[in-house]
Amino acid sequence: MIVLTPSRQLPFPVMAECISPDVFQEKTLEEIGELAVWEGNKQKKLADLFKVEEQNREGENEATITICGDVAEVRRIGASMTIGEIMIEGNVGMHLGEEMKGGKITVHGNAESWAGSMMKGGTIEIYGSAGDYLGAPYRGCGEGMRGGQIVVHGDVGSEAGAYMKKGLLKIKGNAGQFAGLRMHGGTILVEGNCEARAGACMTEGKIVVIGFLESVLPTFTIEGVRNKVKIKETDSIEGPFYIFSGDLAERGNGKLYVSKRKNPHLSVFEKLL
């Protein structure tokens, strides 16, 4: 296991896509320390910013990287990774696990925006909160999450799961506006409350809100009430839930499940059934 500890404060943005098990694999500590990163507009070595050490504990995956300390300005950690594990003991910067294909990232802290951006596989688990655009794609790009799973124990910002096609987003806290914007597949589960415009312009996929949902877009239509909703093959949640389908503005057939118990303001829709 490689342990990275920031050797000083990092006030400028640091681009460190090299912090990835794929890159560290079969490299010596010296070689890892020599890897190039950018700090602001200066090119540096990883060892200039981090203390690089090796720790071997029994039964642990060799391809594991642990970062001890606050790396909120360090971006693109784990980008495109396919194997192994990254553990971050602290807050982490933007684009965590961008386009990752496999392996696991665990954050014991908060993650900035674009965590799991355009992810294709693997797992990200964030014990704190995540910023905006969780799993969402790059500007102008219509291809969001294609697979894998992100679990956030805290809250998330707006546009979580935008353009998602496959995979699972589990948000244990609250979600911001436009959760599941333009999604065309996959599942988003919001266990807390959810701001307005969930599922805007979605065409396929499933959004489940267990807490309070501020409002349902006028371009969704109520389909019924159901007692249970399946999240994964084996996983299902007890309701009852209102089921809305939409977004009709995009001729969509996405499904929005909203807890009946927590959302008495939606009972007006029952008369349309």
Binding site: P137, Y138, R139, G140
Partner: protein, 559 residues
């Protein structure tokens, strides 16, 4: 430059060992042997710098394409170096990168084919920021209200004077027509579907616009013919429209100069009734071209990649949006023209796309005389210009075509004419299609050849034509044409082994059309100006300060 194997078709040099002397940016007879800097290019191909007759590299529509597609750029960036500026690709590169990428392939002259006159300053500002190549740009005039009005009155001479004014005012190089009549109709969301449709409110047909502007072109003695994007472009069955257009201007045939250039002809060479019955009209078009000399065309070759389509043909682009559901930009320009942009991906496995790929190559191989057809992708519509080396490989090698044919949609493969075509272009023919022919069609006297007095724009490719069988070793040729061994621009070595050595600015060429009496701005003209446009007459023309290196080419008109 000594010992190279030179291909210079305009001077009839076909693979001979000729030494080339350069002084003060021009090709000269000889230079003092001991004082000159010598470059030994033994065993390499030497050609005039490449000339591209049709490539969208600058102006409002190109730039809106850049703005529209950050996702096109973000995995294709170029870092700043000690000599070059940074930038991005892919299908719509930023200005500096455009210049560098052309020069890396040995190209030194590029024509930007669509400029809305009202936004001409923008085009020129961007051209100033494209280094290493000389440039020129064609104003879009086919649906300009002045054209429609004078033609419906039958007043060709007055129109010619106004076109001359317009070319001078926009610092343009040729008359560009796009889907004549269709763009004015698009102002209210309509289109024209045949050469004889009436254009709403103007009592005139596309046929009359084409013939009228071809006549104006002759009256003004412009060096290039009318540059035409046909009606019905991109629609199955449109090869008939293309042929009808060519036949209609036959009466203007003249031994010396073609009357019309049908651009990106591949997009106008479809048979069939719909996308399922799509087929190739290349045979018919090639047959016509082989029998007539008043038409030139360029390929508009399709490349299998993700690209950005952009034309002034607003209704066509809207159709493409409806077909794909991709993001769509429309930009209509008052009194003049329109424009549209849609990102597009050409896929090998798509029947229509694979058929289009085949049509482009069929055209290039079935037209017997290489002086009549030029290599383009209608960048970025068929694919980015950086794919030219791929097209070169397909043109010189049947084996290369076969390798791609194997991978395309089976239905398209079974209908393609390519397996029946054995022709493989020689380097001499290639030099015609990529520089000499294009320079000739453009009437650029100093470009596209290596004779004494020509601009010293030279491309050297590291492949030995005597030792290489291009038919078999097409990959080697492709690699050589991707990264020129040397690109010399105006006598300066700007690229060596595919690396940019120097950032020098290129010139902007434009026609200084001289009419018999100087153009008078009458009160009527000013009044019409106020009514037609939302800018003042004084602020419309592109003044000299907008051209960093201005290269006017005087033209004496017959009006």
């Amino acid at each position: 430059m000594s010992n190279g194997v030179v291909f210079d078709p305009l001077n009839g040099i076909d693979g001979e060992k000729v030494d080339i002397a350069v002084k003060d940016g021009k090709i000269v007879k000889s230079v003092s042997e001991h004082r000159a800097k010598k470059i030994d290019v033994a065993g390499m191909i030497v050609m005039p710098g490449g000339v591209d007759i049709h490539s969208h590299i600058a102006g409002s529509e190109v730039n809106t394409g850049r703005l529209l597609r950050p996702e096109d750029h973000f995995k294709d960036s170029e870092c700043k170096t000690s000599v070059t500026r940074s930038g991005v690709g892919y299908s719509i590169p930023s200005t500096f990168t455009t210049g560098y990428r052309y020069a890396r392939m040995g190209y030194t002259t590029v024509m930007n084919p669509s400029m809305p006159p009202l936004e001409a300053k923008h085009t020129h500002e961007e051209l100033n920021d494209i280094p290493l190549i000389d440039k020129a740009t064609y104003p879009l005039l086919g649906d300009w209200w002045f054209v429609l009005e004078y033609l419906s009155q039958g007043n060709i001479e007055e129109l010619a004077r106004h076109v001359a004014w317009m070319i001078n005012s926009t610092k343009g190089y040729a008359i560009k027509i796009v889907n004549p009549g269709g763009l004015e109709s698009w102002g209210f969301g309509h289109n024209v579907t045949s050469l004889d449709d009436q254009i709403p409110h103007f009592c005139i047909t596309p046929r009359e616009i084409i013939l009228g502007l071809c006549r104006v072109n002759k009256l003004l003695n412009l060096p290039h013919s009318v540059h035409l994007h046909t009606n019905n472009l991109g629609k199955p069955g449109n090869y008939k429209t293309a042929l009808e257009t060519m036949k209609y201007v036959e009466e203007l045939a003249n031994d010396e100069k073609p009357a019309v250039h049908i651009t990106h002809c591949q997009f106008s060479a479809f048979t069939g009734d719909d996308w399922r019955t799509l087929g190739s009209g290349a045979e018919e078009i090639a047959k016509y071209l082989n029998g007539h000399s008043h038409v030139t065309i360029d390929m508009g070759q399709v490349i299998f990649t993700d690209t950005t389509t952009m034309t002034a043909d607003g209704p066509f682009q809207f159709g493409l949006y409806e077909l794909t559901g991709n993001k769509w930009v429309n930009h209509d320009v008052e009194t003049e023209t329109s424009a549209g942009i849609v990102p597009f991906r050409y896929r090998k496995k798509s029947f229509a796309h694979a058929t289009q790929w085949s049509i482009g190559l069929e055209l290039a191989l079935l037209v017997k005389d290489s002086w009549k057809i030029y290599m383009t992708t209608d960048h970025p519509n068929g694919g980015p210009f950086t794919a030219y080396p791929k097209i070169i490989a397909w043109l010189i090698s049947k084996k290369a075509r076969k390798a791609t044919l194997k991978k395309i949609n089976p239905k398209a493969r079974s209908r393609s004419l390519l397996p029946s075509i054995d022709r493989e272009l020689s380097f001499y023919e290639l030099a015609i299609m990529t520089r000499a022919g294009q320079a000739k069609a453009l009437g650029l006297k100093h470009k596209g050849h290596l004779g004494v007095g020509a601009d010293a724009d030279i491309a050297v490719y590291n492949v030995n034509p005597h030792k290489t069988d291009p038919s078999k070793e097409y990959k080697k040729v492709r690699k050589a044409f991707k990264r020129a061994a040397y690109t010399i621009k105006g006598g300066k070595v700007v690229v060596k082994n595919g690396e940019v050595l120097k950032h020098v600015e290129g010139a902007t060429m434009w026609l200084d059309v001289k009419i018999s009496e100087p153009f008078k701005v009458t009160a009527d003209m000013k009044r019409r100006f106020r009514e037609y446009w939302t800018v003042e007459y004084e602020n419309y023309p592109v003044t000299d300060r907008y051209l960093e290196i201005s290269q006017p080419i005087p033209v004496k008109a017959e009006v």
